[in-house]
Amino acid sequence: MSDNGRPGPKRPVTFKILRYKPGLIDPPRYDTFVVDADPRMTVLDALEEIRTTQDSTLLYRHSCHHASCGTCAMKVNGREVLSCVTNVLELGTPVVTVEPLGVLPLIADLTVDMTAFAEHFEPSGLKLLRKSEFNPQAERPEGIESYTRFENCIECGACISACPVTNTDPDFMGPAGLAALYRALVKGDELPEKLYPLADCEHGAWRCHTGWECTAVCPSDVDPAGLLMALRRKLLGYKIRRLFGLKA
């Protein structure tokens, strides 16, 4: 940004964007678009400009535009980010590569099916409300009784996309799911006897290879890897106690 807070001089930036439309752009390919980026432009702004002025068929997800909803997570230059808060010129590359999140099945262009990610949360049965954003008067979609949230986690899916293990073991519970499980343990809503066996399995806590990328890319500072390691520590204590016939 210039000193007076107004947009500074624009610079042309090439965007290399992964495209896929079932039956139309199939197999996937990369399309390039040139956008004049001003110093305040984010990747999401650029996508919106491309969609508005160059290709109205470009598909991507977004909602809040301020890193709160987690909807616009994607890979930019190979790293998982929230596109709404990723400044184009600060990336410092003449070509910006934009791809959908990894691991999750591709629906079209930059949108992926988040179902598998949501399923990672289910085993913990975690019911935590981020009270600062919870509005009891808010209208709820049909069939939804209440909103639940895993504290700071904005459920963007960046962690499982960056995790080397989820990329090779689709059954791995994943950083977000295991971090949620740890929080459920600490919060004490669920019995440890139920939660420990969930984590102590082939695709559970021990499957992590400590690549630490989940924590590195998390836009919400949840620190999934740190929580996962804390879960392991608890798990180790549980296993030792169980070995000696003590209470979980």
């Binding site: 590195a216 390691m229 520590r233």
Partner: protein, 134 residues
Amino acid sequence: MTRKPIQHESLWRRILRAWFDPRGRDTGLVAFALNRITGIGLVIYLILHLIVLSSLTGGEAGWESFLQLARSPLFFLFDVALFGALLYHALNGIRVTLIGVGIGARQQKTLFYALMLVGVLLLVYAVWLMATVA
């Protein structure tokens, strides 16, 4: 007809990118990738080592020809690389073991750099020993 959603990369490309592509990644993935590379390297070395040892069954002549090869400068570089890989794998193994059970997890980056410094110092000392004493 419902179309099955796809992955935009093949499994192998995805594995290679997720495990070994350091672009846009942090220390953790570099440590993870090097651990796998050195691990695979050490397994290959172990197999080669057993093959070379089996030449002993062919008598003194076979063993002597290997010793001549072992004294070459190229083999010296191989020894340095081998010891470097061994040091990396062992020291990072200590780090992974500690943070893997929640000890020093928040300091995993510092732990990595500290152990790598120890590794470099040990490697320099080992190279000096190999060059002067052996």
